[in-house]
Symmetry: C3
Subunit: 292 residues, 3 copies
């Protein structure tokens, strides 16, 4: 069976556990490497430095050959559908596809018609499973287990791929999710309990701040005052429990959703998350390709 990675909700708890175990092995320098000159194509129809580089490092560390397509160079300019682009790249010789696309659930029209795995690197406002997996790995490294943790997700809940996916998965894994957002960014379809930002910060083991996605909404809270209004200020951070950590999916806006000094403060795991991203992506690539 083709091992797509589309949304967190399609992974069983056992599959999630195995990915995190494999990722941790890669962190220690162990694990499967390809010996067969396989090819992976990274198709990014939205710009993303960190996710593309992270996948590319993961692919090359596994000994895979890498093809990179970024939007502006695409034959889609000539009217080709995503489906046909994908079928074509499969025929040319790619053994797996990593895709980021602005359309929610872009993969629906594809997965029944390709025989190579699709790894979702982000679809619209929908899903971003490797981001969730790297967040889980980071929390597991800190706290040993996810069950029983309290995780606060704070900020632009409505427009965040990360919020929805993390909230669902964390709940499933036995963590408690607290949500805090300005009124206009509350989204009741995201799992979790809405509380005040101060309560979220003081009660949680993990304080996860979301990026203000300027490009996704035209109106919104003015940036100047956002930090005081709903960002992680030093004063708010001082109310965190001693053992609690700060996370952020990045790219972050220093001084907007998080005080600049907190990005690299002792309780921050923001750059550790990036490091873990590479290991998690190695693990999902292994899952998709190790039988070849």
């Amino acid at each position: 069976m083709t091992k797509h990675l589309l949304t967190m909700s399609k992974l069983t708890i056992e599959e999630i556990d195995q990915i995190l175990i494999d990722a941790e092995a890669y962190r220690k320098g162990d694990g499967w490497k390809s010996k067969n000159s396989l090819f992976v194509a990274n198709l990014f129809f939205e710009p993303s430095t960190r996710t593309r580089f992270s996948f590319e490092v993961a692919e090359k560390k596994l000994g895979l050959n890498v093809l990179n397509l970024e939007d502006s160079n695409s034959s889609t300019q000539k009217g080709e559908t995503l489906y046909d682009t994908v079928k074509t790249i499969e025929a040319i010789g790619s053994d797996a596809l990593v895709i980021r696309h602005s359309q929610d659930h872009y993969f629906q029209e594809i997965i029944d018609h390709v025989s190579i795995p699709i790894l979702n690197a982000g679809d619209g406002c929908g899903h971003h499973p490797t981001q969730t997996l790297l967040d889980l790995l980071t929390m597991k490294q800190e706290f040993g287990s996810l069950s029983g943790l309290t995780v606060a997700i704070i900020g632009d809940i409505r427009h965040s791929r990360v919020a929805r996916s993390n909230a669902e998965t964390l709940t499933r894994l036995g963590a408690q999710v607290l949500l805090a957002a300005p009124d206009e960014w509350i989204d009741d379809s995201v799992l979790g309990e809405y509380v005040s930002i101060d309560q979220a910060i003081s009660q949680s083991d993990v304080v996860m701040m979301l990026r203000i996605q300027r490009e996704r909404h035209e109106h919104g809270t003015t940036q100047i005052k956002y930090l005081d209004f709903f960002g992680l200020t030093k004063e708010r951070a001082s109310k965190m429990k001693n053992s609690s950590i700060i996370m952020h999916p990045g790219p972050f806006n220093r001084g907007i959703e998080i005080d600049s000094d907190l990005v690299e403060a002792p309780q921050s795991r923001i750059f550790k998350q990036k490091r873990n991203g590479t290991f998690v992506r190695m693990a999902v690539l292994k899952r998709a390709l190790h039988h070849l």
Copy 2:
């Protein structure tokens, strides 16, 4: 002697045969691979997903190092000529160049002044020899020999790199070429016999549909009606001989020059063509580099 690949007309029949034999060997997993860390630069001054990826897969399967240049990143923005770009990249250390350029015969000004092979990946409305070679390979796989085949080329003959190059080569190899086009796209300099579209379809072993090149002409038959007027409808396809196949150089416009359902129908070899593209490009790279 430097083994450029510029136009089909510069290849002898023996050279074409050898390329097809080598390509078929690569399909079976055999053939020359580079052991010397050679470099190939892909210089694409026009966008093209499929051709660039196909060359890149071919290069990496041969063990070559790959450099990719796409137009918008080029020093040509600073007023450098193509000739100087090519000479510079040769000096930097590339052992061969794959070039796509919008100017017809861009290679004329270059080939006498470089000592590394140029592989033409498409010039203006002129030539696209690896496309022809992959079409030949596909037909040879189906029918064993090209001599005696009847091949119909249908659609925008005037603006197609593929039509001219395929028609000339097929004629030289002993195939009969039938052409069918709306009046405004007839081009008498392309070898072959113009017939009605219905005659072309019913009499040929290969029905090769051409893409409607929207970006190359401003006026033309309206797209809405093109399929009925001059596209491959299911009704027209039902008049094909039982042993006949459908080909298309891609990217195709579903529902314009070809009914969407026919793209992946049993008689279609459209995605097989893509697969063969990689093997043919391996063969022409071998031809250019195997002595190194």
Copy 3:
């Protein structure tokens, strides 16, 4: 200690000598190669074919894995600072960074906060140390030693990264620098003696022409007449000493700052410079990474 390469002025004479020795060894096919699957990211926030390709060939010849970022694909579109991009790419897994950026001294804010080496591939109107190093290597190959040479730097002194960096380094290494420029492009902060263009050409061992950087100034000498006014015409070149050579950092404008026929004339080393660029970049990458 992290072996950044930021400006020529931060390299000791001994370090410069060692880089040139290592580069010459690479030219002969010798020298360190990476056996540890290290990664280098090339971050180009300004377009540059030749410098990026030269670094990429150097990296791949050393057995390094390469990540390429070009401006338009960057997360900096989302408001991320260069500092955070660099920290992120370090975390993802890059062992060194090659950066070109339009801002003078972009590296100042970074170097104290990263533990991986930064190699400057050009900052604003400031520095371009590998260009200077390849120029030095080319002169050393020709003349054996740099001490005692007379080098003329001619043209747009004011806006040239090359002029400032070369003039300082050549002076430090015991060469005499002559400068010649139209009045509006004289810059007294560049080391050397201003003389007439005719004196510069007739008295020097090396005639180094600078590119007219059209994109860096809006007004200036009209291009039509620039060749006669201040370019290297054949008549001026005929006044060169027999043993003297022509150099140009490229990309050059044929017929503007240099007569087109002189680019590939016997006394020109312009394409040899490009070749040396690859070897020099291998040497500075070795310097940064050989302990890993």
